[in-house]
């Protein structure tokens, strides 16, 4: 198996799908001539030309809406937000149009579109640029929200998202673009809506996603040194939730820790916690705990930002409280 960067895996996914299907186009700021602000679309302009790899003005609301309109007409646009923080100016288009045109038309129109881009904190870009929008979009009934943590999932899930006949919010993580790992050489699709157990353990169940998965794995190692074995589930898809995988693990471990980068108030972790206690109340030996970003705007200062994020130390500490 080839070792690929997360960004390369995403690039392969888009290239393979564009070769396979002429109706797939990529549009966004700097995706073409600049090869992408984070180089995710490197080389795609040369491969597919300016008709299919399209630089846009800084008009997220406008080009998100253009993607949606084009999708209702039969194209399968990939709309890149340089970061999801900039999708806030396009929030209305995504919520009211991408997610509702099918319903409001009584099922007449399909909206096969993928919104994708970077997200999250940790790189000291400050409060306006560090948003984690999983919960803002997962709350919207028709939207599917995918947040891959590894290159192989990034590729397989993006290919599935592009082939989906429905709107998908594909939320990447800026800190992971440079993460390298094995990716199968042959073509494959990763199923949407299935979580992945990335570490087995019988002391407690840790549920996480995206960049937090890596911090959780770090914490898992540290805990193992203290003889605590965490079972770590990477959701991969935040909505719909794979409750089967979650509950199966909870029934074995009886203790649950959720680790998310969302700000805590009604972050996705709150929903996972709610569903677990609703569906497996008697299985719980202790309250479900969460490690989310602290409930403050993202600070620029590096130490402060690490303190605000769900870092391995906080995760390990909280796990110990959970088992106390």
């Amino acid at each position: 198996m080839a070792q690929l960067f997360y960004r390369e895996a995403l690039n392969q996914a888009m290239c393979e799908e564009m070769e396979r299907d002429d109706t797939v186009v990529l549009m966004g700021e700097e995706v073409a001539e600049y090869d992408g602000a984070y180089k995710v679309s490197q080389g795609m302009l040369d491969k597919f030309g300016p008709k299919r790899v399209i630089d846009t003005p800084i008009s997220e609301c406008g080009f998100a809406g253009i993607g949606i309109g084009a999708a209702t007409y039969g194209l399968r646009p990939i709309v890149e937000f340089m970061t999801w923080s900039f999708s806030l100016v396009a929030y209305d288009q995504i919520v009211n149009n991408a997610a509702q045109v099918r319903y409001m038309s009584g099922g007449q129109f399909e909206v096969p579109i993928v919104f994708r881009g970077s997200s999250g904190g940790g790189l000291q870009v400050g409060a306006t640029h560090s948003h984690c929008p999983e919960n803002w979009y997962a709350n919207v009934p028709a939207l599917t929200v995918i947040t891959p943590a590894f290159p192989d999932d990034a590729k397989g899930l993006l290919k599935s998202a592009i082939r989906s006949n429905n709107p998908v919010c594909f939320i990447e993580n800026e800190k992971l673009y440079g993460f390298k790992d094995e990716v199968p050489d042959e073509e494959y699709l990763t199923p949407i809506g299935k979580a992945r157990t990335v570490r087995e353990g019988d002391d407690f169940t840790l549920i996480t996603n995206s960049g937090s998965t890596h911090r959780a794995l770090e914490a898992g190692k540290a805990l193992a040194d203290d003889g605590i074995e965490a079972e770590i589930i990477d959701l991969r898809t935040v909505k719909p939730l794979d409750m089967d995988t979650i509950l199966e693990s909870v029934r074995r471990n009886h203790r649950v820790l959720i680790v998310e980068e969302n700000k805590p108030f009604a972050g996705w972790g709150a929903q996972v916690a709610y569903e677990i206690q609703a569906l497996a109340f008697d299985e719980l030996d202790a309250p479900i705990m969460r490690v989310a970003s602290r409930d403050v705007p993202q600070p620029y200062n590096g130490n402060m930002e690490q303190y605000v994020l769900p870092n391995p130390e906080r995760i390990a500490e909280t796990a110990k409280k959970l088992l106390a």
Binding site: C61, G65, I66, G69, Q93, A142, S160, N166, M243
Partner: protein, 355 residues
């Protein structure tokens, strides 16, 4: 062939050269028929609203009939139309079934949107009618996107995207115009300038006059038409459509019109005088066209009365149909959220009820 050129005003305009073949008498009568149908359909909808058979918002098109009918009459069947929430007129002009439209207003399963969309959200894929959109100007990027796809797929088709005079002050419209001009998209933005956004006159909402100036920023072609005169609407629309079809250039088309009724059924309309309203009703688009056709000898009073009678019948039939049509089962609220997956396996849990 029209070409963009700039007037001293700085507003790029389209050189008018008549592009429209003369209409046959039958075709002229058809235009009149459509306007009458919209008028009577809307009157019937108003009645149903007062009877509380229609709920929520109901924005009537009465007074603006020549605009939807005139613009859409120069399109091909497979060109695209998209508009805002005041969408009954456009839907009917596009050939949507009056029964299904009225059934939608009644919230019935037989409605054009299965009773899920309501007055503001008419859709008809077969008729290339892309809605019916409730968020002011939210449809304007979609219109550019449809035109983007038409061009990408080499369809030779164009898109008419309507918006109100109040909608021009939404950022989404500005972004759409820049993108349409920059990418040369075959979209025509039709401002239905009926002088008011709810109770706010154009003068109180929009700096700059006339509204066609909004196109100057983007070196976009711009035209004005008299929305009370279906022939003038047709001519100006034809210029814009031709420019879009032959040169894939967008146009901003401001059409002056007026709505006779309140903004929605719940609007008393205190912001305008009876005299102002009367002034506009005196240049009623239907009466005007009726007169013209009678002068041309295409029509006599008797035929007109028959046509009007027929329009009232169709509206009444639609009312009866809608009333008799069955309610959707409430569990159907879970349908029509997602298109079935065809290229990947169905996504598990998606249809799970969240506890």
């Amino acid at each position: 062939m029209p070409t963009v050129d700039k007037e001293s005003s700085g507003v790029a305009t389209v050189k008018t050269s008549t592009l429209l073949p003369d209409l046959s008498s039958a075709q002229k009568l058809e235009l009149l028929e459509q306007m009458l149908l919209i008028r009577r359909f809307e009157e019937k909808a108003a009645q149903a609203f007062q009877q509380a058979k229609i709920k929520g918002f109901c924005h009537l098109y009465i007074g603006q009939e020549a605009l939807a009918v005139g613009t859409i009459s120069v399109l091909n069947q497979d060109d695209a139309v998209i508009t805002a929430y005041r969408d009954h007129g456009h839907g009917l002009a596009r050939g949507m079934c009056p029964n299904e439209c009225m059934a939608e207003l009644f919230g019935k399963a037989a409605g054009c949107s299965k009773g899920k969309g309501g007055s503001m959200h008419f859709f008809d894929k077969e008729k290339h009618f892309f809605g019916g959109h409730g968020i002011v100007a939210g449809q304007t990027p979609l219109g550019a996107g449809i035109a983007f796809a038409q061009k990408y797929l080499d369809t030779g088709r164009v898109t008419l995207c309507y918006l109100g005079d109040g909608a021009i002050n939404q950022g989404s419209f500005h972004e759409s115009m820049n993108l349409a001009a920059l990418w040369k998209l075959p979209v025509i933005y039709v401002i239905e300038n009926n002088d008011y956004a709810m109770g706010t006159s154009v003068a109180r909402s929009s700096a700059g006059d006339p509204l066609t100036k909004r196109a100057v920023a983007y070196d976009m072609a711009a035209l004005q038409a008299n929305g009370m005169d279906v022939d003038d609407v047709r001519e100006k629309t034809a210029e814009a459509v031709h420019l879009a079809r032959t040169e894939s250039q967008p146009t901003l088309l401001e059409i002056r019109t007026y709505r006779y009724k309140g903004h929605s059924m719940s609007d008393p309309g205190k912001y305008r005088t009876k005299e102002e309203l009367q002034k506009h009703m005196d240049r009623d688009p239907i009466a005007l066209y009726d007169l013209r056709l009678q002068e041309e000898g295409v029509l006599d009073q008797e035929t007109f009365d028959k046509m009007d009678e027929r329009a009232r019948e169709i509206a009444q039939e639609a009312y009866d149909y809608a009333e008799k049509a069955p309610e959707p089962a409430v569990e159907e609220c879970y349908d029509d959220i997602w298109a079935p997956e065809t290229q990947i396996s169905e996504i598990p849990f998606r249809h799970r009820l969240i506890v």
